[in-house]
Symmetry: C2
Subunit: 327 residues, 2 copies
């Protein structure tokens, strides 16, 4: 065997942090999502994440892929079926490759720039959902481009799609959003993170698979909530801290009302109560709060929701919304 | 930390085998490359690879992506630029995700079917090329769809593409094919493989990157030969055997002539001599022979070239072309 160049891996027991970000983190307001947009935004995020790396935390990163899968679906649509169209699970896999690459390149560059001897790897991650998840009965997530009513109904007929109107803007395909049960590659993520490598995993919420009637894994055309997958993965890899990055610096109660109040720190019990009081709408902060509650209930110690810009201060307890579970 | 379900990893020192296959392995003669085609062919390959798994070998798998990247390029072409087109390095990353997923799903199913407690993970792999590789001076690999002469020349003008006629069938873009120097994720591949996990890596020859004038990694629009990358990776992870799967059961000398003869076993010295005599054309067997020679020169002990169907017999020394290096 030849010598491998490159750094020696860490083998210590430093805290493991899982950081989740949205697919929109790669595309800023008003941008089209070119490769230059992706690279510039990834660069910015990588710089911010160096705060955690310089504290010598072990690090697992997850990310969404909404806009990117949307682009692939629209592109397939525009190509008009001359090239075989790939199903949604395969498109998610593609974005795990492309976004993982862009992110790991930026992270590697920041590590090299700082002379920090750590490596980065993206793992293509499958996530198992229950074959009898009730979500399969009622698809709720619109995906892909808008279609004419006629075209939508034709695909319902010919391809078995579930279609419906979306926000009065036209017809779209709807797919289910089942709960993530297990991240198939969780062991490899944990092992690599414990070695000190920065691991990108669970992109787009993971590639959804289920067991078929022959007990074989098969892909499903579904969208798994990336915050819930992040929570499941954080639990599985034994993360001590789950950080969910979003567009706002804090979680708010009474958002958009005169009583609006930013939360600084709350206990598991407090956040469960606020959730039950209906403070967090399903379309935006709701899934993130659900993810945090799931993580803390499963034994997680701390969680944090904030925006990338506030992260360095939030890490010092000076910004963001902090959630505390068991000590 | 919660218990992780799933098998205990192997921690032994069984031989590590690297198996390389082409992107055409996923698309059989006359097939269009639908997801069903990909899954069926991956399934067949996974079953064949179980021969190695049942011998308890550690296993790293690499694969090509020619037809799949071709489809993505054509699709971008047909979408007409309304969705931002992604450069070649990002498209390679996408195929690492999609083909890695299809392959790891089939492998997982075969492992589960056989009650073999091992895991599978695909790693998104960057491969570094020299910024002053002479290949950059003369792009030789045609990629993407055929264009009219006018359209080709327009892109040469506007996008800086190198274009030219291809096989008298029309105009295409040409990109360089620099030599792979180092697989960036080689340490993580090696660690996971040594744990007993089956690792898919280096898909499409790896995502080509180079250092820019600020010493930062940047993607390059190039095609790295997947057999050469497989050889570099096999060396870096300390593989004792490199297997290159192709469309024919053996390597031949005098191929297509009355003196055609299948090679059974040859030494490093013999194959170097045959190569120098011009027996292996650059477009087909040449790069595979170069990859084998590189691997053996770097200290590899054995290599094997055969087709998937012959692999089980080849492993027993009853088929295929075997190459022997140092003992």
């Amino acid at each position: 065997m030849t010598d491998l160049d490159g750094p020696e891996p860490h083998q210590d027991d430093r805290p493991l942090v899982l950081v989740a970000m949205g697919g929109h983190a790669f595309i800023d307001e008003g941008e089209k999502g070119t490769i230059e947009d992706h690279e510039r935004n990834a660069q910015r995020i990588a710089e911010i994440l160096m705060t955690l790396v310089e504290m010598d935390h072990r690090l697992v990163i997850t990310h969404g892929n909404g806009p990117q899968v949307g682009s692939l679906l629209q592109q397939q649509e525009m190509a008009g079926g001359e090239i075989p169209a790939m199903p949604l699970d395969v498109l998610v896999a593609m974005t795990e490759g492309s976004l993982g690459y862009v992110l790991q390149q930026s992270l590697l560059n920041e590590l090299r720039h700082r002379d920090i001897p750590r490596w980065v790897v993206t793992m293509v991650t499958q996530v198992r959902v229950d074959e009898d998840d009730p979500a399969f009965e009622s698809p709720t997530k619109p995906v892909g481009p808008f279609l004419s009513k006629e075209e939508a109904l034709r695909r319902q007929e010919e391809l078995g799609w579930v279609v419906g109107e979306d926000s009065g803007r036209g017809w779209r395909r709807y797919v289910p959003s089942p709960r993530p049960r297990r991240v198939i590659q969780n062991r490899m993520v944990r092992e690599a993170a414990h070695q000190g490598h920065i691991v990108v995993a669970g992109g787009g919420g993971g590639i959804p698979i289920k067991k078929d009637d022959k007990d074989r894994y098969v892909g499903v055309e579904a969208v798994v909530d990336k915050d819930l997958t992040s929570s499941v993965l954080a639990t599985d890899v034994g993360a001590s801290l789950l950080i969910i990055l979003t567009a706002v610096p804090n979680v708010y109660v009474g958002f958009g009302t005169p009583e609006e109040r930013a939360l600084g720190a709350v206990t598991l019990e407090e956040i469960e109560q606020l959730r039950d009081e209906g403070h967090f709408p399903p379309g935006s902060m709701g899934p993130k709060i659900d993810a945090v509650i799931h993580f803390l209930r499963e034994g997680g110690r701390r969680a944090l929701i904030t925006d990338p810009e506030s992260l360095p201060r939030a890490i010092e307890g000076r910004a963001g919304t902090h959630f505390v579970g068991r000590v």
